[in-house]
Symmetry: C2
Subunit: 214 residues, 2 copies
């Protein structure tokens, strides 16, 4: 049976998973690049922008794990792009260039309908207007027995955690403060009640924690 997994959710010491004022030039909000700096040092990060090299080891291992046995992805609209409101046209095709690194169906939560978008390398974006449950259901079907990755953004992951829809979540704590932005932990009550912290591992710059449904 498909599991719903969240991987490498970047969180600051003060609990922010994105800075304020997300935009095309600041996809993770103002200051959010301090959360992701370590990512671009890894082999997985370098590969994503067509570069070779980069670190292997703990951080890279956690990034690679995120792609294992994943058959579909669900993401919020902010994760897909900086556009808010109606789609002005179909020119925005995601942050990732012509060949997004998914290679499977991706379900984008939005209030604004748009036709399917097929990209090179096997990624097709489907725009889902009837909510998270519908997106997860369609993703599970599309995953054909593999797992579904819930890719973000912050609000989507928080809703899924609050409603107990997540089977596994791996977070990456970056030892810095953002001071403002989107908090991931608000309104989650006594979480991780119902979950067990199954692994803690730290590199020189990031703390990785894995929680699985108890």
């Amino acid at each position: 049976m498909s599991r719903i997994r969240v991987h490498n959710l970047l969180v600051s010491l003060d609990g922010f998973a994105a800075g304020p004022d997300q935009s095309q030039s600041a996809p993770m909000g103002v200051g959010g690049e301090r959360l992701s700096a370590w990512f671009w040092e890894t082999h997985v990060g370098r590969s994503m922008i067509g570069q070779s090299g980069g670190s292997t080891g703990i951080d890279n291992d956690w990034l690679e794990r995120a792609d294992k046995n994943v058959g579909a992805t669900v993401m919020g609209r902010n994760m897909f792009g900086p556009i808010r409101g109606e789609w002005p046209d179909d020119s925005w095709v995601g942050w990732w260039g012509d060949e997004p690194p998914y290679h499977h169906p991706v379900f984008v939560l939005t209030h604004h309908a748009r036709g399917d978008l097929s990209m090179a390398g096997g990624t097709t974006f489907h725009f889902v207007t009837d909510g998270l449950d519908s997106a997860l259901q369609r993703a599970v079907e599309a995953a054909q027995g593999k797992d579904v990755r819930l890719g973000g953004g912050v609000a989507t992951v928080r809703e899924a955690l609050r409603r107990g829809l997540v089977d596994e979540i791996d977070i990456a704590i970056v030892p810095t403060l953002l001071g403002s932005g989107e908090r991931i932990w608000d309104d989650l009550g006594t979480w991780p009640e119902g979950y067990v912290c199954t692994q803690i591992q730290s590199s020189d710059s990031v703390v990785h924690l894995q929680f699985c449904r108890a």
Copy 2:
């Protein structure tokens, strides 16, 4: 020259270093015992309540480090006891019984004067009514070349961090949410600007991070 050090500051994933409603029966506030559960499993923790055994290893090492080369301690009043306002009498002598685990001068920040309190084992509590700077200055003198430990509570540490008075802070992140209580990271702007994260180490249950002044 004496350094000002904070050790093993317990912090939840959502940034709380104490739960709400601190009292004599809940010294770390409601739910705060979830932050300190690991402490009582260690050798240092067991020793503090007169028990033998307890774990050695990573968590215990970080606890032991806190006592090395410390000649005096400064703490906020909530760290000394649950009493608020005027001292009703001199009967409250701290949370630690007849022989507190300090064995050196301890400077307690309070708005309410009280005479010095000498305990068994070499601990003397001095009650300081003229603020953090005065307490730190007196502690540095009393430490006679050794370091000064800033023991808490949350508000005191936050003030010291905000004002850049701390040379080293070791925090212990416990993978749980408190949801409410005293936030340690509020109003600290771009901290750890001016500091370097010098060590990250995790046990099975706690993440230890060390920050030193750059």
